[in-house]
């Protein structure tokens, strides 16, 4: 989702008996739901996986500022503008906590940033879709943040302490964002014909990309088992996707909007909706860089970073001068 397609570095899940004593003690702590803290021993692969996952999540927050930032200057009222600005600011804040959580694993924010900018590290595929109308601000809050929450609520119980604690704070804000998004959709769905059309169009465009946020189907996701054993992934992709559909379909009905899937139907037996899988070839295209906005998103991040270099250098240089002046003054 925010960290979809994280490839596990493990070679398949070992049983406790196959582990050496140190690794076994580690796994047993996880099995007892104890939190792993930065200074604790951890397998190298656990560390590497977490860096990838938390880093990808942080990058998703940062790149995720762009599609919504696209509408800040066009927000239709002062109140909507303030709400949207505060929301995008929260995303920057989430990026900050997550980079801090990743730093406790021994990687710097600048290193992670360089990997994002070079395209070596990924971010959630959803942010490679454009925001074309104001209704997209509603759809992003409702569907994208809704899908994010679905994944992140269980991650509050993830085994790595700093990540779990960052998630607690992030989840509080995300659920607020989702309500704000739904509120925009309600206004649009109950508004003029043009607004209704915008709302339906936004749902049409964001429905399948939102379902893709959970990652490929479990049967095609070969890396999940180790992450689940380490409790850095708490549910399978398909479980979360089902939960999301079950939650969202009635919400769309309440709005008077139509989910763009003619085969959606309640299945009494499984106690959930049957629905059409997203087009996974589109998903893999987007991951490879061929989404509608991949080029623009990375270009925008690179531009901000490159054009900001002189500012970062100057702030550091000034800080150094001040420190040096204090040393001289103290002597």
């Amino acid at each position: 989702m925010y960290a979809q397609m994280v490839k596990s570095t493990g070679q398949g899940v070992k049983s406790l008996d196959e582990m050496d004593p140190q690794e076994r003690a580690f796994q047993e702590r996880i099995n007892r739901d104890e939190k792993i803290e930065p200074k604790d021993w951890m397998p190298a692969a656990y560390r590497k996986n977490l860096i990838r996952q938390i880093g990808q999540h942080a990058h998703s927050e940062i790149v995720g500022q762009l599609p919504e930032g696209n509408w800040i200057t066009r927000a239709p009222t002062l109140e909507r503008k303030a709400i949207l600005l505060a929301k995008v600011q929260d995303e920057a804040g989430h990026g900050l906590y997550l980079y801090c959580a990743a730093e406790t694993l021994g990687v710097s924010r600048d290193e992670l940033t360089e990997d994002l900018l070079s395209g070596k590290m990924k971010y959630s595929s959803i942010f490679n879709y454009p925001t074309l109308t104001w209704a997209d601000m509603g759809a992003v809050g409702w569907l994208v943040d809704g899908a994010a929450i679905m994944n992140q609520v269980p991650l509050q119980r993830t085994s790595f302490g700093p990540y779990a604690r960052a998630m607690v704070r992030i989840c509080k804000e995300e659920s607020f964002h989702q309500r704000q998004g739904y509120d925009i959709m309600m206004k649009m769905a109950n508004g003029s014909d043009a607004q209704k059309r915008m709302a339906q169009d936004a749902l049409n465009r964001f429905w399948y990309p939102s379902l893709m946020m959970f990652g490929p189907s479990d049967k095609d996701s070969v890396h999940s088992a180790q992450s689940m054993a380490w409790k850095i992934k708490m549910n399978t992709n398909d479980e979360l996707r089902q939960k999301f559909v079950d939650q969202t379909v009635p919400q769309a009905e309440y709005l008077g909007l139509t989910v763009p899937d003619p085969d959606i139907a309640w299945n009494e037996e499984k106690g959930g909706y049957d629905f059409t899988e997203p087009d996974w070839s589109e998903f893999f295209d987007v991951i490879k860089g061929n989404g509608p906005c991949n080029v623009e998103r990375l270009a925008a991040r690179n531009k901000a970073w490159d054009e900001g270099r002189w500012v970062r250098d100057a702030l550091l240089a000034h800080g150094e001068k001040r420190r040096a002046a204090r040393v001289v003054a103290a002597e």
Partner: protein, 251 residues
Amino acid sequence: MDDTLFEFLLRQGDNTLVLGHRVSEWCGHAPVLEEDIALANTALDLIGQTRMWLGYAGEVEGKGRSADDLAYLRDAWDFRNLLMLERPNGDFGHTLLRQFLFDAFQVPHLKALEDSSDPRIAEIAAKSVKEATYHLERSRETVIALGDGTGESHARMQAALDLLWPYVGEMFLSDEVDTDMAQRGIAPDPASLRQTWDKTVTQALTDATLERPEGDFTHRGGKTGEMHTEHLGHMLATMQFLQRAYPGATW
């Protein structure tokens, strides 16, 4: 209707509206995450202040116009903001320097407005001054750091200062609206704030190793509405797009 009071309130609200809009353009594009968050904070404060100023302006006007009506349904000639604030952001240093030059005016201005004979204005000023004081602290520190930082940052900041300097004088120009406000004890004469501003700015420029430009020429007309830059119309075209394209819709 109290015409001069309405005019005065538009000037306050348009300053914060236009500057808040400019600052909000940075969201997601700042040089470093902490600055991105801080700029968004500044923009949020300014938008909040706009809602108070223009809300009150609409009440004084008495024609049922809301803060949103005033922000989204007036054309450039009805705007009353300082020219400096509608100019494009330029680089990060230019944005922060413009912020500093305005904050150094706005803080003493709002402090004086806390004693306004109009209790609503005193109330808005009391709320705003806390935010403006923080903005000034931050913009001042950043200007000093960037002026002093590296050769490149120093050159960029000096260039920004030279560019902005011909716009600062407009903050201190007085007209009949200001005279009326001063006589009624509603607001200070802007000219009276120059000394405090000079002191703040001179000290900061010295610390920033920047050279105060010569000359006191000033562009004028934004505050009175006689003249704007070409940039304002483009800003409004963006800002007002939805309200103009879908009149009467509720968002």
